[in-house]
């Protein structure tokens, strides 16, 4: 498999996963705000924080109003990670490798991109938002299912999965980091609305129901953190993503360096007693994980992707 094709597949999957995750956090936040009294509600700023685009946002907008933030995350063309931009980047990556993915996949990603940009106004209006975002999430999951069920499970497939799991692990750490910062500043008594906010952290990853089935305890900080970081059976937990990244890496050639990085990452996740961490410690822990994920990406790119372009394409 060509290195360039591997890179296109990897980014294709990352962008689709990014769009899906963004759609999910916007949905959950909108719901959460309906349940919380004004003074308690964290508002919309944390969402921008999660996507790591605070600086860019503040260049464009003065305040974190719902309208501004939702537009920024869904369809602002100045924001590279907005849903519409992410899907457009996914589509561009797919266009050059149409011979690798099933034909239906190309048609569906093309359709999804048209849907996201064509129906954007519905997504921005409060009344249409829920349906718009739900359809986005479903269609993204449909794409993953289509690949799983119809694509040759070869090297190319592994790069799709690597992209998807790294993006997912990264997002999970960000959600945990930002959302917990506004909660339980110091391990004191539960305040009245903390519980509902921890539930929404879980819901941001569609993890609430599975948490209930798996943990069978009240929704509290410690078990929630353990679930989203360390559970080995939940497919959006950091631990699960790392495990499956390792399985994918094991099927690729020249994987020694990448496997070392992923091993280090797994030890970081396993070696921490999450319930006992202060908010500051948790933040440091997340930082360490994110650096590890970035290292892993660098190692993957260095080993299997083409060297970066030095000149702009002529003609």
């Amino acid at each position: 498999m060509l290195s360039r094709v591997a890179e296109n597949l990897y980014w294709l999957a990352r962008y689709v996963e990014r769009a899906e995750n963004t759609a999910r956090i916007v949905t959950v936040n909108a719901n959460l705000l309906l349940d919380l009294p004004k003074g308690v509600a964290p508002g919309w700023r944390p969402l921008v924080d999660i996507t790591g685009a605070i600086d860019l946002f503040e260049e464009i907008h003065k305040d974190y109003g719902e309208r501004q933030v939702v537009r920024f995350l869904l369809g602002d063309e100045r924001h590279p990670a907005s849903i519409v931009n992410a899907l457009s980047a996914a589509r561009e990556n797919c266009r050059t490798i149409r011979d690798i993915v099933p034909r239906e996949f190309w048609e569906q990603i093309n359709g999804l991109h048209l849907f996201a940009s064509g129906q954007l106004q519905k997504g921005l209006a409060k009344t249409g938002r829920h349906a718009y975002l739900r359809e986005l999430v479903q269609r993204c999951q449909g794409l993953a299912g289509l690949l799983d069920g119809t694509m040759l499970h070869d090297q190319g497939f592994e790069f799709l999965r690597l992209g998807r799991y790294l993006e997912r692990a990264d997002m999970t750490t960000r959600i945990a980091d930002v959302q917990s910062a506004t909660l339980l500043a110091d391990g004191s008594e539960m305040r009245p609305y903390d519980n509902i906010q921890w539930v929404s952290v879980l819901k941001s990853m569609t993890a609430y129901q599975m948490y209930r089935r798996s943990e069978q305890v009240q929704v509290r900080r410690g078990p929630v953190l353990r679930f989203i970081f360390q559970n080995s059976g939940f497919p959006r937990s950091v631990r699960w993503c790392i495990d499956h990244t390792r399985l994918g890496l094991e099927r690729l050639p020249r994987n020694e360096a990448s496997l070392r990085v992923v091993g280090r990452l797994a030890r970081v996740v396993d070696g921490v007693e999450l319930a006992g961490l202060s908010q500051t410690d948790l933040h440091d822990f997340v930082d360490e994980l994110q650096l590890g994920i970035a290292d892993l990406h660098g190692e993957i790119a260095g080993t299997w992707f083409p060297p970066p372009l030095e000149v702009d394409e002529a003609a």
């Binding site: 498999m1 060509l2 290195s3 360039r4 591997a6 266009r95 050059t96 149409r98 011979d99 090297q155 790069f159 690729l252 050639p253 020249r254 299997w304 083409p306 372009l309 000149v311 702009d312 394409e313 002529a314 003609a315």
Partner: protein
């Protein structure tokens, strides 16, 4: 045929029509086709035309047009459902003529890059060679595998009023269109399946495997399974659809310049997930000048630094070979009859269109005087750009061209304006009308020569127009080579599906 026939009003008087020999009277090979179309009736035929267009959109058969604003548009491939029919015996003649032509051209190119005997013998003027825009001094003395330079040639054929078929030009650089020839047949099968009950046009779809065999025959490592790649300039190229189509059909990698590199061992490699992987044959769809920034344009990012080095060392084959375009020049074209005579000691089987070389003073005078009747073409343009069609031109355009020709006679040829033959074509809101066509067959040359069964028929969709290029409002048609006598219908007894779930 009855008076209500579709064909009764088909006005082809004064034209050579490929399907009809006179109003209401089909040629022998087209009789069954004409009556099938008649049986469908104009409304049903129009419905099939729409179905074909819908099919093409759905299958994503596109080509890219460069707009004047500098942007690019991906357009659906324009197609007309009425096929063009050529009887097999006539085609066999054409096929022999094309093989002869390409064989001579290959000998000519090889000679130009070695001893230049044809120049020394004063058959081909030295001046033409010196001024050739596509002669590459970098290729002097190189011996490409099998001595072949032009492995894939697309020659444009036209038929004049009197029925004579001429070669209009030879495309030896990166000729395109073959994927559309293949897709046109698929679309016809889909939307007009009943035609195939009467006819068994010879199949076209073995082209990709023939192309692969041609390329594989050039491999410097013949013992192994050769690694063949298609080199594309990328998704913004007008023929990108074809590049990816052919790569898929051949099972070859579709690569861009940055996927390849030449190592210190002068071998060419592609960057793969498993590390560098040796490349044996490059089917390049990138022009010479962009192939290798070390040898040609240093600013090219489309090519592969060192590729010429690897090619000269014989470690990688390139098709068409760099420099093959020297014979893809409208002035060289004018010499092809002499070239055939010189190398093969034979008369051309298919004639050239009579051509005035403006470099000859007498011809130049004639051309300047009769410019209003002639088609004037520059030596190195393609796609129908930069030419003058005398009868359709304005005085100002003619004056401009006179100046251009006088300033650089070597760069121009002129030909009489031929009335291209026509094929019935579905016109929106009207019955069938004749439209002018040409034909581009593709000739493959390596250890042996093969010609596509027919080729790509291009049709000028505007009434009276002679410009068939898809970038300028041209469309296309399926092309059928049909055996003289339709084969007897064979009965195939098929068994019903025998296994099914037992019903409780």
């Amino acid at each position: 045929m009855s008076e209500q026939s579709t064909w009764a009003e088909y006005a082809c008087e004064g034209l050579y029509d490929e399907l009809m020999q006179a109003q209401g009277q089909p040629r022998p090979a087209s009789e069954a086709l004409a009556s099938e179309i008649d049986a469908l009736g104009p409304e049903e035929l129009a419905a099939r035309q729409l179905a074909a267009e819908a099919s093409i959109k759905e299958m994503g058969i596109t080509f890219t047009v460069y707009s004047e604003e500098g942007g690019m548009i991906d357009r659906s491939w324009p197609f007309d459902v009425v096929p063009r029919v050529i009887p097999e015996p006539e085609w066999q003649q054409v096929e022999a003529g094309l093989k002869q032509r390409v064989q001579a051209l290959n000998l000519f190119i090889d000679d130009l890059y070695h001893d230049q005997r044809i120049v020394a013998d004063k058959v081909f003027p030295k001046d033409v060679l010196t001024k050739s825009a596509n002669f590459r001094p970098q290729c002097l003395g190189v011996d490409p595998p099998l001595g072949t330079w032009a492995h894939i040639c697309g020659s444009d054929l036209i038929r004049d009023k009197d029925g004579t078929i001429y070669v209009l030009e030879d495309n030896l650089r990166v000729p395109s269109g073959v994927s559309y020839m293949l897709e046109n047949r698929l679309v016809t099968k889909r939307v007009l399946p009943e035609l195939f009950e009467q006819y068994a046009p010879l199949p076209v779809d073995d082209y990709p495997s023939q192309l692969f065999d041609t390329l594989a025959a050039l491999s410097p490592r013949p013992a192994d399974y050769p690694e063949v790649v298609v080199l594309t300039p990328g998704i913004y190229n007008s023929a990108y659809f074809e590049h990816s189509y052919l790569a898929q059909q051949m099972g070859a990698e579709l690569v861009e310049g940055r996927d390849l590199f030449v190592d210190d061992d002068d071998c060419c490699y592609m960057r793969t997930v498993d590390g560098p992987s040796r490349v044996d044959v490059i089917y390049r769809r990138v022009d010479d000048l962009f192939l290798d920034p070390e040898a040609f344009r240093p600013d090219s990012a489309l090519g592969v630094p060192g590729l010429m080095r690897a090619w000269k060392a014989g470690n990688v084959a390139i098709a068409n070979a760099p420099g093959a375009g020297v014979a893809d020049d409208k002035v060289v074209y004018a010499f092809v009859p002499e070239i055939i005579k010189y190398y093969l000691d034979a008369e051309p089987i298919i004639p050239n269109v009579p051509t005035y070389r403006c470099m000859d003073p007498e011809s130049l005078d004639y051309v300047l005087e009769h410019i209003a009747e002639l088609v004037v073409k520059p030596a190195n343009e393609s796609g129908g750009y930069g030419m003058l069609v005398g009868p359709a031109s304005t005085q100002a355009e003619r004056n401009k061209f006179k100046q251009l020709v006088k300033a650089d006679p070597r760069n121009y040829i002129a030909q009489p304006t031929l009335t291209l033959s026509t094929v019935p074509t579905v016109i929106k809101g009207a019955a069938l009308e004749p439209r002018h066509v040409d034909l581009r067959p593709f000739i493959l040359s390596a250890d042996r020569q093969q010609v596509t069964m027919g080729g790509l028929t291009r049709v000028a969709l505007r009434k009276g127009s002679l410009v068939v290029n898809s970038s300028q409002g041209g469309g296309s048609k399926d092309t059928w080579i049909v055996p003289e006598i339709p084969p007897a219908q064979t009965q195939v007894l098929s068994q019903g599906q025998s296994q099914s779930q037992a019903q409780a």
